[in-house]
Structure formats: C-alpha cells, structure tokens
C-alpha cells in the first residue's frame, strides 16, 4: 500500500468519527448555547437536502420514484412550515452576547424562511412540465380562473347592461314572431273556409252535371235517329224506281190522250 492510500484511508476514517471529536464539535458549533442558531442551522440543512432531492427528481427517469421523491419533499416542506412559528419565538428571545442588529437580522431570516420553503420545487408548483401527461387533472390550468373566488352575493346575479339588453331584444323578437304567426293562422283559417265551401259547392254540382250528361246523351241519340230517318225519307223521295214509274205512267197518260185525240178528230 502506498502512502497516498494510507492518507486517504485515514482521512475517511477521521471524517467518519468526527462526530465523536468533542473539540471539533465545539468549534464547529460556536453557537452551541443558542437554541435559535441551532434550530436555524437544522432548518438550513433540511432545506438544502430538500433542494438536492428536488434536483434529483428532475433528473429521475422512473416516474414512480419521481412521484415518491416529490411526496417526500412535500412532507418535508410541511414539517418545516410547521416549525417556523417555533423559530420565530426563539428569534425574539434575547441571548447573551447578541447585538440588537443581529436580533433584527434573525427576525428577517425567520420571515424569509416560509418563502424559501415554498420555493422548493415539489412537482406541483410551476408549469406542466413538472407533472407528466398522465396526471392532467392534478395540474391547475392557468387559463381557467374563477373571478368570484366563490363569493355568491347579491352582486353576483346582478344583470349587467349587456344581459338586460339581450333579454329585451329576445322579448321583442318573440313578440314579432307571435304577431307573424297570428297573421299566418288567420290566413290559414280563411283558406280552410274557402276550401270547404268550394268542396260543398262541387258536391252540389255533381248531380247537376250527371243530369246534364244524361240529357245531352238523350238529345244526341234523338238527333241521330232523326237524321237517319230523314236520310231514308229523302232517299225514298229521290229513288230512281219511283222516277221511272212516274215517267212510264206519264207516257201512258200521254198515249191515252193522243189516242183519244186521234179517235175524236
């Protein structure tokens, strides 16, 4: 083993057993009697561990372990915020060997603590990058805001100018629509009445038309009959047979007349 090895080993062993070194501790803890300083120191270390853990979370790939670490950080934050009031009480206590400026400074430090605690990233604050896509409901969307903060008093339901105007317009349009519908219904009533009157009138005229039909039929057949008979009669009058008979009889009469004339002469 080399000398360097030995030195390193000795160093690590000493560090390990440092806490048993009373002198060193006394040196490190200058403010051993001061409760405030002790508590404050503890606070500081805890905040620093929390910050380190938060850094680890951002680098963490495994989702489950990231969630677990975030929960740890949140638990630490809650514990620290609970202990802040104790620190505050200690801050105002006068301690031997402490100047007024230091007292005021301690107060300021205590006041700044809650802000520092809150500032530790624990996965719920900040943008959606901290949570992942598989937990959207836990993220509070920055776009949706509740202006009223849950107060439902008289003012909340007060009609604004726009809404009352809108309501007025709605009422006016409704009235106009009703007027239009009334006119339409009147027109329809008149149409219905006219249509049923027409219906009855047509019903009235149906038997009349039937009568006309039969009468005209009778008249046509009569005419046809008459025509045929007339044709027959005219034909009979003009038939050549009658004509020949007429001529023959006429000749006979003339012959008889001539014979008589001859006889008498």
């Amino acid at each position: 083993m080399t000398v360097i090895d030995i030195l390193t080993r000795v160093d690590s062993i000493c560090k390990k057993y440092d806490k048993y070194d009373v002198d060193k501790q006394r040196e490190a803890n200058v403010s051993g009697d001061d409760a405030f300083a002790r508590l404050y120191g503890a606070f500081e270390t805890q905040i620093e561990t929390a910050l380190e853990k938060a850094e680890l979370v951002t680098k963490e790939k495994n989702r489950a372990s990231a969630v677990a670490m975030n929960a740890e950080i949140r638990r630490t934050k809650v514990r620290l915020s609970e202990e802040v009031p104790k620190l505050q009480r200690l801050a105002v206590k006068r301690v031997k060997g402490l100047t007024t400026e230091e007292l005021a400074a301690r107060n300021d430090l205590v006041l700044a603590l809650p802000a520092r605690i809150e500032a530790i990233p624990d996965g719920t604050a900040g943008g959606p990058k901290a949570t992942s896509a598989w937990a959207p409901s836990t993220a509070s969307r920055p776009d949706i805001k509740f202006d009223s903060d849950g107060r439902f008093d008289d003012d909340y339901f007060q009609e604004s100018h726009e809404s009352s105007q809108f309501r007025q317009e709605y009422e006016m349009r409704k009235i106009k629509q009703e007027q239009g519908l009334d006119m339409i219904s009147e027109g329809l009533d008149a149409l219905k009445n006219m249509a049923s009157d027409m219906n009855e009138e047509l019903d009235r005229q149906v038997p009349l038309m039937d009568e006309i039909d039969s009468k005209v039929d009778r008249a046509t057949s009569d005419l046809k009959n008459t025509n045929v008979r007339l044709k027959d009669t005219v034909n009979q009058l003009r038939s050549s047979r009658n004509f020949c008979i007429d001529i023959v009889l006429l000749c006979i009469v003339l012959g008889i007349a001539a014979y008589l004339y001859n006889v008498l002469k």
Binding site: S185, D189, D203
Partner: protein
Amino acid sequence: MSSDPEKMMSKADKMTKLTLTRWSADWRGATELYEQAANGFRASSKYERAKVALEKASQGQVMQSSPWDAAKHMESAAALAQKLSIWDEVADFYRKASELYVECGRAQPASDALGKAARALEEVKPEDAIQLYTDACEILEEDGRDQMAFDLYRACASVYIKLEKFTDAATFFLRLGVAADKCDATNSQCKAYLSAIIVYLYGHDLKQAEKCYNDCSQIDAFLKSDQNRTASRLLTAYNEGDIEEIKKVACSSTVSNLDHAIIKLARKLPTGDVTAVQMNAGDDLDEDDLT
C-alpha cells in the same frame, strides 16, 4: 200581320172568344199573337199592357198543354209586375209559375221562381217573403235537392233577423243544419249551428243558447269542428261575464266566415246585462246535493 200591338191584342182576343161563328177557340194563333203583342209593348215600354199580354199568352199555353212555356211567360209577367211595383201580382204570378213548373216535374225552376218572388218582396212584405222562402225550401226538400236549399234558408233567416224575430231565425238555422246533415255538408252544418247559438245570445237568451249548444254537441261533426270550440269559448265567456273575451271571440276568424248578418250580430255582442249571468252561476246545484 199588323205591327201594332194593340191591334194584335184585339185580334187575338177575338180569336179566343166563343161566338156563334167560332165554336172553338183558336188558342195557338191567339197565343202567337199575344206573344208578339207583348214584345211590341215591351219595346215601346208599355209595361202594363205587356204584362197583360203575357198573362194571356201564358193562359194560351196552358190551354195548349205546354206548362213549360206557360210558366216562362208567367215569370216574365211577374218580372214586369215587379218593375211596376205591383206586389200582390208579383207574388201571384210567381206562385202560378212555380206551380206550372212543378207540373212539368221540374222542382229547381219552381223553387227558383219562389225564391225570386221572395227576394222581390223582402223589403216590402217580409212576412210574405218568409212564406215564399219556406215554400221554396219545401219544394226542394221534397225533390231531395237539399243542397240548393241552403241559400234559401240563409236568406230566410236573415229576413227574420231583420224583423228581430230571433227565435225563428235560430230555428231556421237549425233547419239548415238538418238539411246539411242529409247531404254531409259538415262545414255548412257547423256554421249553421254556430250562427244559431249567436242569434240566441244576441236575443239575450243564454239558456236557449246553452240548450242549443248541448243539443248540437250530440252531433259528431259539430263536436270535432272549429265552430264547436268557438261556441264553447263564447258560452264560457258569457258565463264568466268576461266582456273582453266575448269581444275577442266575436272578432275571431271562425265567426268572420259566417254570414254577414251574423257577423254584425256577433260584433254587437254582448248585449244586455252580462253581470246578471254571473249571479246565475251561484244558483248551481250544491256539490253536496246528491239528489
């Protein structure tokens, strides 16, 4: 043939008179002469003489057994009498014409003749007019042509309304309803019933109106009609004494489709004391009355 109508008249008269030389009247010739004489008189605006000529011509046609021509002549004579405002003769002539038409077996012209007579006498002698209308309707109903009777019923009812005999008018509307029912003319029937109810209401007769409404509700066709709704609205408005509602119903389109005379009556509703009706409502049977 002389063109002087008077000469024709005297000639024709001579032809119809039986004398020793003439043993049978020559009606054909006489009728021809009478007709020509009548035309001549009409041309020269001698309506009195024309009327006489037409009368005689008609009689000639009767003698010749042609009632149709006779009836036609009678109608022309009646029209001339109307022009001369001799109302008795108008009625007589039209009645005779109608009888002749019935002889021919033609009911429509018969009732038309009576209708014309009634219209002519509406202003002057309304009672006669009503009688004529009624006879006309009867002729048509006997012949089974009820639909033609609608107009006559309506005219008759309007005459009654003018005479302010509201019960009679309503009765006629109900008769119209009966006639319409026979021909399945539901629209006319419902309008007739609504008119009857309005007439009763105008005559201050709410009880009658309600009875009438109840009777009419038995009829299916009326029950399903617009007129039924209007009637029920009117009657409820009357029972509640709501004048605004009555006026609104009277101006509704259903009422405006009725006869003119009825519309006028409806617009004048409510007549009389509507508040009296409200007290009647208190006389209703007690609900606990189990009799």
